[in-house]
């Protein structure tokens, strides 16, 4: 019967909490806590992945050697000296990976910020103004949504001469082609917030539109914006990797996509040099996975229904376990022959 104790403790803690919060400035903190996701094993995994890869990108380049140094040992597999082997002209793959991760994170963050600003403008401002502006902005974002992004990016980058194709050019091109989906999400959310009483109250009291948007509406949308930002970062890293892989990336930067580009052009695949082309893609996939897991947790804040689903499921699981254990112990007490456990499941 020991398993009943935690549940009892939890309920006791629940009832004990409100009085403690009532004293002092606790309510403010609990308000902010509502905006933070609950820590679950999944969220922890996601955060570990993100923090780990970010640290690798930030600190890694200081710890590894020169990524461009050419050695007389082309295409050797992983060894003690080079944990991830060497490229076909003897460059250290691990060193390249560290620098490339930094490059990819940079562009992902940059595009994420730019795209979020664009989508906030078109989504929130349009929905707030309503009528013609709203119609025009939402038409614009719908049009951008149906025009396939990557072919457009490829065409734009194809027209820009190689010399003037810098980091910022690529970032702007990626941002311009990727804001539409989140603008639509933000528009829908803004429409629902805009008609609430306190927004109307602040409008009536003569607040200027920008103040109403930033002070009254924006805080309600923060979780949505955060989730859209995370999506934008994933999309940007993937998009940049695709562009760089076909040789259209920024000419002065090294990213995970450029690494894959050189691996493909250095015949890593036919030569079987898996240590050259597996790590960059895996890095992108793991980082993207970490971000999407974090996004699931943000979703729980936006849509509290999901949180209830998780809590209910956990309760159901706990109840089932308890029942099973009860049944087993009662059987043991009766002294009957214990049935095989399989029947329980």
């Amino acid at each position: 019967m020991t398993n009943l104790e935690p549940a009892v403790e939890a309920t006791a803690a629940d009832t004990a909490e409100p009085p403690a919060e009532a004293s002092g400035d606790a309510p403010v903190r609990s308000g902010w806590r509502m905006l933070l996701p609950t820590m679950t094993p999944w969220l922890a995994t996601g955060l570990v992945l993100i923090v780990g890869i970010t640290l690798f990108g930030l600190i890694g380049p200081f710890l590894v050697g020169d990524p461009d140094q050419i050695r007389d040992m082309g295409l050797t597999g992983p060894s003690a000296e080079f944990p991830l082997g060497t490229t076909q002209i003897g460059q250290d793959v691990l060193a390249q990976l560290a620098y490339a991760t930094r490059g990819s994170l940079e562009i992902g963050f940059l595009v994420g910020v730019l795209a979020t600003i664009l989508s906030c403008f078109f989504g929130i401002y349009g929905a707030y103004r309503g009528r013609f502006v709203d119609e025009a902005f939402s038409l614009l974002s719908n049009v951008f949504l149906v025009i396939p992004g990557l072919p457009l990016v490829i065409v734009i980058s194809g027209f820009v001469p190689r010399e003037s194709r810098g980091l910022w050019t690529i970032a702007v091109v990626l941002a311009v082609t990727s804001w539409a989906a989140s603008a639509r999400v933000l528009r829908a959310q803004t429409l629902s917030v805009r008609n609430r009483d306190y927004v109307a109250a602040s409008q009536v009291s003569g607040e200027r539109p920008w103040r109403v948007i930033t002070v009254e509406i924006l805080p309600n949308l923060l979780p949505v914006i955060a989730s859209q930002f995370v999506f934008a970062v994933i999309a940007a890293i993937l998009g940049e990797a695709g562009l760089a892989f076909i040789g259209l990336g920024a000419s002065n930067s090294s990213t995970l996509g450029t690494m894959l580009f050189y691996a493909q052009n250095g015949f890593a695949l036919p030569l079987g040099a898996w240590w050259w082309f597996v790590p960059p893609g895996l890095m992108i996939a793991l980082f993207g996975m970490g971000l999407s897991i974090v996004n699931f947790s943000i979703d729980e804040i936006i849509n509290p229904k999901l949180k209830n689903v998780r809590l209910h499921r956990r309760q159901a699981r706990r109840a089932a376990r308890r029942e099973r254990r009860l049944a087993r112990s009662s059987r043991g007490a009766a002294g009957g022959v214990p049935e095989p456990e399989v029947s329980d499941r």
């Binding site: 999944w42 065409v155 695709g242 996939a285 793991l286």
Partner: protein
């Protein structure tokens, strides 16, 4: 009826926007594409007459053929005639002919694998949502990994494992080059064998989104009252799953087809490059590498047209499946 008119109107605007983008991009960006093209043409032994120059200038700007609005009108006139210029990298072939040759490859590959991914993903998602907590449901987080994997990297990995290590499939190409393209069993068999890996890549990379969306909608649909009513009436669980839950849960997936199709097309462009597949994506990238601007624009226009067309069809179908959308507009 006004729903359909609205949709048609929207896609007309989207088409116009795409055409205008195509017109504006080369004129807004630095560089002089016309000169590069003409230089290439001369290298290939083409004669550069005043007419070719004007034709390119109309497509790409930089010429002296009148004011901008005049160029704009002429550009639309040329498009209406289906005249997209001469391809430099396939000289002397017309751009429209080059595109025409590669369309079937892409349409079959991308179309088939999108349909397979959608059907598989939606039905798996329906089952995962129907019984939360089963082994299928625990697979759902793994699909986020698949969704974050770059298409082309997945293609590289699959090629490495299935083609190089195991040797089951050819590494590159769209068909056995010994054979002549034609409608015979041998050629089609070879095309299927060569197309399997690219198709597998697209299916694997895009199935996660369908699965996740369907599962989440299924979970929220199951808490609706009409499901409870159906259960209370004593309907069999299979009937409830098929006629009550899935039918309603699948609607957002159908409505989201536009966004996913855009992603699939974008992903397949680069996937085709990995496999040297003779489709539109490969042509687009070849055109970019060879500075073949005319072909580049032509392919972009065509991809956009195809995506817009597919979306229009899906949207119109959606209006028929879900009467609420018609009532709302």
């Amino acid at each position: 009826m006004s729903y359909f008119l609205r949709k048609l109107g929207f896609y007309a605007v989207a088409l116009w926007a795409a055409l205008t983008l195509n017109f504006a991009i080369p004129r807004m960006l630095p560089g002089n594409p016309v000169d590069i093209l003409l230089a290439k043409l001369q290298q290939r032994g083409g004669t550069v007459s005043q007419e070719t120059r004007e034709a390119y200038a109309l497509l790409l700007g930089g010429g002296d053929s009148g004011p901008l609005w005049q160029q704009y009108i002429d550009y639309f006139k040329n498009l209406l005639h289906g005249d997209l210029g001469v391809s430099v990298s396939y000289y002397p072939a017309q751009v429209s002919d080059v595109i025409g040759q590669s369309i079937p490859w892409t349409v079959v590959l991308v179309g088939l694998s999108t349909i397979i991914a959608a059907v598989l993903g939606v039905s798996l998602g329906a089952f995962a949502g129907w019984k939360p907590g089963t082994w299928l449901d625990s697979l759902v987080p793994a699909t986020t990994l698949l969704a974050a994997v770059p298409y082309f990297w997945l293609a590289l990995i699959l090629t490495y494992l299935l083609a190089r290590v195991l040797g089951w499939f050819p590494m590159q190409g769209g068909y056995d080059v010994v054979l002549d393209p034609g409608w015979n069993a041998e050629f089609i068999g070879s095309a299927i064998q060569y197309g399997f890996l690219p198709a597998l890549t697209i299916v694997l990379a895009s199935i996660g989104g369908w699965l996740l969306g369907m599962r989440n909608m299924m979970v929220s649909t199951l808490s609706e009252d009409y499901i409870l009513t159906a259960e209370a009436k004593g309907l069999s669980p299979r009937k409830i799953l098929r006629s009550y839950a899935s039918r309603n849960a699948v609607l957002p997936s159908v409505a989201g087809f536009a966004i996913s199709l855009g992603f699939v097309v974008s992903g397949s462009v680069i996937t085709e490059q990995v496999f040297s597949y003779p489709g539109l994506g490969g042509r687009l990238l070849g055109a970019v590498q060879n500075n073949d601007y005319a072909l580049m624009q032509g392919v972009f226009l065509f991809i956009t047209l195809a995506v817009l067309g597919a979306n229009l069809v899906v949207d119109l179908l959606y209006g028929i499946i879900d009467p609420r959308t018609r009532a709302r507009s």
